[in-house]
């Protein structure tokens, strides 16, 4: 399992906890439009939970880029490799 897969699994775990959906399966194209629970306020909780899980801080410019799960994983992979 490479870094990407490990990160994807950890991101999935965070999503399931925040949205309280244990069976949620993440795909790179999944967006807020596909998950009814992914409201604006839940988005704040999600980002905070991801920051805690990966011990990192997102930048404003990165947050603006986030549209899909794929964007989140890509940014975390980039930040983790620095």
């Amino acid at each position: 399992m490479d870094d990407y897969d490990v990160i994807r699994q950890r991101v999935e775990k965070v999503f399931r906890e925040v949205f309280r959906k244990p069976s949620l399966v993440l795909t790179p194209g999944l967006s807020a439009a596909d998950v009814p629970e992914w409201t604006s306020l839940q988005h704040v909780r999600l980002i905070a939970a991801l920051e805690k899980e990966f011990a990192l801080r997102f930048e404003f410019s990165e947050l603006v880029e986030i549209e899909t799960v794929g964007d989140i994983i890509r940014i975390i992979v980039q930040k983790s490799s620095v």
């Binding site: 992914w38 604006s40 306020l41 988005h43 704040v44 939970a49 997102f58 404003f60 603006v64 549209e67």
Partner: protein
Amino acid sequence: MKFREIRVGELDDLIASGWYRRQKIIPITPSRAISQAINPNAYPNDIALLMAVAEDDSLAGFAGILPARLYLARAEPERFFYNSCWWIHPDKGRRVSMPLFYRMLEITRGRMVLADMTEHTEKIVDGTGRFRVQKPAEGIYLWFRGGAGTFLSRKSGYRPWVKLLASPVDLAINGMQYLRLQGMQIAAGSDTFTVRPASVEQQDVNEFIDRMCAGNPLTRRASDLKWILRTPWLIPCKLCKKGTHQYPFSWKVESFVQHVLRIDHNQLLVGVAVVNFRDGIAKVPYLYVLQGSEEPVAQALLFWLLRQPVHGLLTWNQYLLRELKRLNLPAVIKRKVYKRTAYNLVLSEVLDTSFELQDGDGDSVFT
């Protein structure tokens, strides 16, 4: 999605722009914009408003920043910022809540206070791990007269017939309450504390306010009150123009009146209060009291309120709460209310954990 930042010096232009006129939901009302444009604690280059604008040119979300001053002992006042609003469109704004929030933190360099959050927002703010959330302050929402007419009229969009329909109920309640309250005032004995209208422009009032603020890092000084009292954010509906704009926060009301009161005892100024009447409910955004006079000042103010054309009081002020409890004021309706405050961890380095916010701190004093 585009993110726009509006500086204090650009607020006038924003409310005069074609883009603003085209919006169904507006990010700031003209009265708030005018007030913030002359905020004595702000510089023209300070960012006052962050907006996320969707592809169709409408608002997806916005957040407001209100510069204020922090008065620390033996130091020049420092800057900090209240978050004055944070609104997200339920559909268009799903992705913008966090960028707006983070950008606010960047702009304020983490020196931000959230002074009046809902329970839901409190949980989320706490979850970011960047704020110290204070234990919710317990206050009271109390009706000492029947106000069903005003209440129902507000709920129905200020239709006058609703008020008329509820008037017999209010009349009956008020008859009984009159007798109960009258008895209480007689029992309280003669009043040696006088409550009179005043102005923050009066030198003794002005100096008293600033003197009583010592040791309270966030409490508004007299210079702030001059500005606040000149530029309330609420418009009484009689003055409202028919328009298509909507604003998600307090804006139009049936009535809004501000009072500055001085409380004297044997010709000595012992208290100054800023009191707002909004749609029949009194609020006391600021109460400055000489040490040792807290109880009689609170009592004098409460008895003054009972003689005013209001039917209730909403307060978190500790002196008023203590006095209300002691007097056991007969109430038509009484319920507990909570005020939730959080401040950024950066600010927590300079703020004592025991500091107390007054009811008007944040932007509540304007509304």
